[in-house]
Amino acid sequence: MTGLDLAFAAAAAVAASAGLLAVTTRHVVHAALWLVVALLGVAGVVLLLGAELVALVLVLVYVGAVVVLVLFALMLTRAPIGPDRAHAAGPGRTILAAVVGGATTALLLSVLYPLAGGWPGQLLTRRPVSTSQVAAQVFSTWVWPFEALSLLLLAALVAALAVSRIAARGSTP
């Protein structure tokens, strides 16, 4: 165990426990707020792995934009303040979800454990990736996927507008 291992374990524990709370809490708004904590934990993990730009973009895009969108959607759909007992899942479904989630985790671990080289696995040499390296990659090797992604974002924007216009026309008799 190294010091970075301990820091990593702490950030990972924050991410996993906040994720668990985000999917199990009864309060609808709290679920979105626990997602913020989970994503900040993931950003810390990514930062410890040495990908600074990815961690910063994660905070900007997810915590800054996606969670705000989710909160807005919760408000626009009149999410109840306080515990939402009307939409609680039954015990059978809770058990099913827990079993499927646990089985998926076990399956992934059984695949990834040999890849990591057993316990505690291969030692990662931390090579911080500088932003200029990332920029050089994006605008040389990955320039066409990058352009396709900008088109995808434009398409998503137009499609979101179109979907909301269709719904507005359908609701007015």
Partner: protein, 102 residues
Amino acid sequence: MIHLIGPFVLAALLVGIGLAGVLLRRNAVLVLIGVELILAGALVLAVSISIARPAAHAASSVLPLFVMTIAAAEVVLALAVILAVYRLRGSIDLDTPSEEAR
């Protein structure tokens, strides 16, 4: 120095938790939170693999950035569809059948 098993365990946990959330939730917006957790697990895996095995076309930070962009586009569209459904049906409970199905 970090041992490789740590990121792998975290990725597996996040994907499992996210999948359980997708199955558990009845509110359509909260299903998206599960999807976000699954994508976060994939992100951790992509970053750790790119550090463990640097490739020729080292996509170390580029691939995670692309994943995040696609996830953002997906969330925007999904929320637009959910809001449209809410306006049409007045509810985003995934368990109530629509009027055509009744």
